[in-house]
């Protein structure tokens, strides 16, 4: 089946593009660290996923850079994530999206619509940036986090009020001889507790929890969030592409 619609999600950390068929299935996708020259990056990624279908396909755009996508219809990432996750999971629930500088808790209804949402305000301490900055300081690549955290004998408590303060706190912990793996596990717990506080709003009781966003690729984070929420957390397939998929679904021509 050829591509029927395109979606791009220009986030704060990465830029994602997908091409979907008429049934809403992802055919091709691309993910890159976001480039400040949004227009040229989007053009390149869209050309890469478009394939033989050529130009003229409807394009949905979401994420912080959505308004700078030439020819794209802009839809907020809250709506897109709800649509994208619902398309993959097929059930209503509570979607937690762990983005680079946004954490969203979205209550998704029975048709994929947004019932309610909450986001981090003013501060990025409960987002991917928190982990990114501190891991950078510890010189630990993100893909080693899961194994390190899993092997830790215990989680070393780290505060989550402020990324900058947590960074200096971690430096002190290292200096006082705390094990790195324990600190990494503590960081995941710290971030998860902040996210869980946001997600535990009204209407969240007893609802299935789904996880999307780049951090959902990290098994340590998924485990920590499950512990904090007190129930299993299910990762949406291709969690990083959920927003772009939702954007593409927003412009997909209805069958018939």
């Amino acid at each position: 089946m050829t591509a029927a619609a395109l979606g791009v999600d220009v986030g704060s950390t990465t830029c994602k593009a997908v091409a979907i068929d008429l049934a809403g299935r992802i055919q091709r996708s691309a993910v890159e660290p976001v480039d400040p020259r949004i227009e040229s990056q989007v053009e390149r990624l869209v050309a890469a996923v478009r394939g033989p279908a050529g130009t003229g396909l409807p394009l949905g755009a979401t994420g912080y850079g959505r308004k700078r996508v030439p020819g794209g219809r802009a839809v907020t990432e809250i709506t897109c994530h709800a649509r994208g996750a619902f398309a993959r999971i097929g059930r209503p629930g509570l979607l937690v999206d762990l983005g680079g500088q946004d954490t969203k808790a979205i209550r998704v209804g029975g048709t994929g619509q947004v019932l309610d949402f909450a986001m981090n305000d003013k501060c990025a301490a409960g987002t991917g940036r928190f982990l990114e900055i501190i891991l950078g300081r510890l010189r630990i690549p993100l893909d080693e986090v899961a194994a390190l955290a899993a092997g830790a004998a215990r989680a070393v408590p780290v505060s989550s009020t402020c990324t900058v303060f947590a960074e200096s706190e971690v430096i002190s912990l290292v200096a006082s001889g705390e094990p790195l793996d324990g600190i990494v596990r503590g960081l995941c717990r710290s971030l998860a507790s902040r996210v869980a506080a946001l997600a535990r709003g009204p209407g969240a009781e007893g609802v299935e929890v789904f996880l999307s966003g780049g951090l959902a690729l990290n098994a340590a984070m998924v485990a920590a969030l499950g512990e904090e929420m007190g129930r299993p957390v299910q990762v949406v397939p291709d969690p990083q592409l959920v927003g772009a998929l939702g954007a593409a679904l927003s412009v997909l021509p209805r069958a018939g």
């Binding site: 907020t76 709506t79 947004v114």
Partner: protein
């Protein structure tokens, strides 16, 4: 309002000048010939004119915390630097502060008193749970009587009961007229927007108790009624009707208005503008001081959360809104506290969509426009 601020430039030395909080019973001062300056209104003008960053920074340099209300920092900054968008503010002979809107005004006016070396009249209004018991109203009334004596001393004349009755009558009529203006938005489409209301409320705040105020609102009411008759709306196509809670975001009012109007959303009622149609109606020319004690003790910010919920619920029903935006205003803690509960209750009881929007009434440094726009955008998409 232009004439009011213009008069202010020449008031100093010609007539007694009082700087007053928005919730002070100004009816007591007008018959004594005071020109009144409203620092809060002035700060709002600074907000719209985008002067807050400069003025607030001047106050912060003097040691005032950035966590303090941005109105207070703006006005203190204006007092320290002499900068103002209105040309010139007359120096006060008297400062009049009523704690019915917040406790910040107490410290703000103390700072002004220290700077200008003039008397400060403080009216302390105990917080109301349900309805204020008689002894508390007597306490407020006693303070008002004392305030009159201080004001008489500065004005150099006695407060004539007949004149006080007349000003009280005018104030009550003004509040009633303002209420009639707001009530025009019960019609569909609403003939104006809640954002228009934020600007048109200036006279009921700053010129309450004058014929000029009332003449303005008679004209406005008639114009709005005429628009209703002709079916002319405040925005081109009214698709959804919203309620706004708390002060406006003065520096972001234009982008907000555009964002909403483009998608057919209109704030048809706001708890803030309607507050000025509520309290003033309770003043009574037959008992100006006793009724002022009651009216000014029972303002929205001096009453418990249950009362706030009742107001929001009533507005939502009377104006038939589909959703509500609760502005969580970093600068106005008394107005913002409890909004998480209010949001939950309104959404559950009235089955409407409710958004909590983090911002500030006049400090753009405490507001992330991109994040704000994103949340509002998602909120509006939810109505589709």
């Amino acid at each position: 309002m232009t004439a009011h601020y213009l008069q202010g430039r020449y008031a100093e030395g010609a007539v007694p000048v009082a700087w007053v909080t928005s919730g002070f019973p100004v009816e007591l001062l007008r018959p004594l010939g005071f020109h009144t300056v409203y620092p809060e209104n002035h700060a709002a003008i600074c907000g719209v004119k985008r002067l807050v960053t400069t003025l607030a920074a001047a106050a912060e340099e003097e040691g005032y915390s950035r966590d303090l209300c941005s109105y207070a920092r703006t006005d203190l900054g204006s007092a320290f630097t002499g900068q103002t968008p209105v040309g010139r503010l007359p120096r006060p002979d008297l400062l009049c502060c009523c704690t019915n809107i917040c406790q910040t005004v107490l410290y703000w006016y103390r700072a002004l008193a220290e700077r200008f070396r003039v008397p400060l009249v403080l009216i302390d209004t105990p917080y109301v749970y349900g309805e204020a018991p008689p002894h508390r109203l007597r306490y407020v009334r006693d303070q008002l009587e004392e305030a009159v004596q201080v004001a008489e001393g500065i004005a150099g004349r006695r407060l004539e009961p007949e004149e006080l009755r007349e000003v009280t009558r005018l104030a009550r009529e003004g509040s009633r007229l303002w209420g009639e203006c707001l009530a025009q938005s019960r019609y569909r489409p609403a003939p104006w927007t809640g954002i228009d209301g934020f600007f048109h409320m200036a006279p009921i705040v700053s010129l309450r108790g004058t014929e000029a105020c009332n003449a303005y609102y008679r004209m406005l009411r008639d114009e709005l009624a005429h628009r209703v008759q002709r079916g002319v709306g405040g925005i081109r196509e009214e698709r959804h009707r919203l309620l706004w809670d708390n002060l406006p975001i003065w520096f972001w009012i234009r982008p907000l208005a555009t964002l909403l109007a483009e998608r057919g959303f209109n704030f048809v009622c706001t708890s803030y503008t309607s507050a000025w149609a509520e309290a003033g109606r309770r003043v009574d020319p037959e008992d100006p001081i006793g009724s002022a004690a009651f009216a000014y003790t029972h303002v929205i910010l001096n009453q418990d959360l249950r009362h706030r919920l009742d107001i929001l619920r009533r507005l939502a029903e009377e104006y038939q809104v589909d959703g509500a935006v609760l502005h969580s205003d970093r600068s106005c803690k008394p107005y913002s506290i409890g909004q998480v509960d209010l949001r939950e209750i309104l959404a559950a009881e009235l089955k409407i969509r409710v958004l909590l929007l983090e911002a500030d009434h006049s400090d753009p440094r405490a507001f992330a426009a991109e994040a704000g726009e994103n949340r509002l955008g998602a909120f509006m998409e939810g109505f589709a």
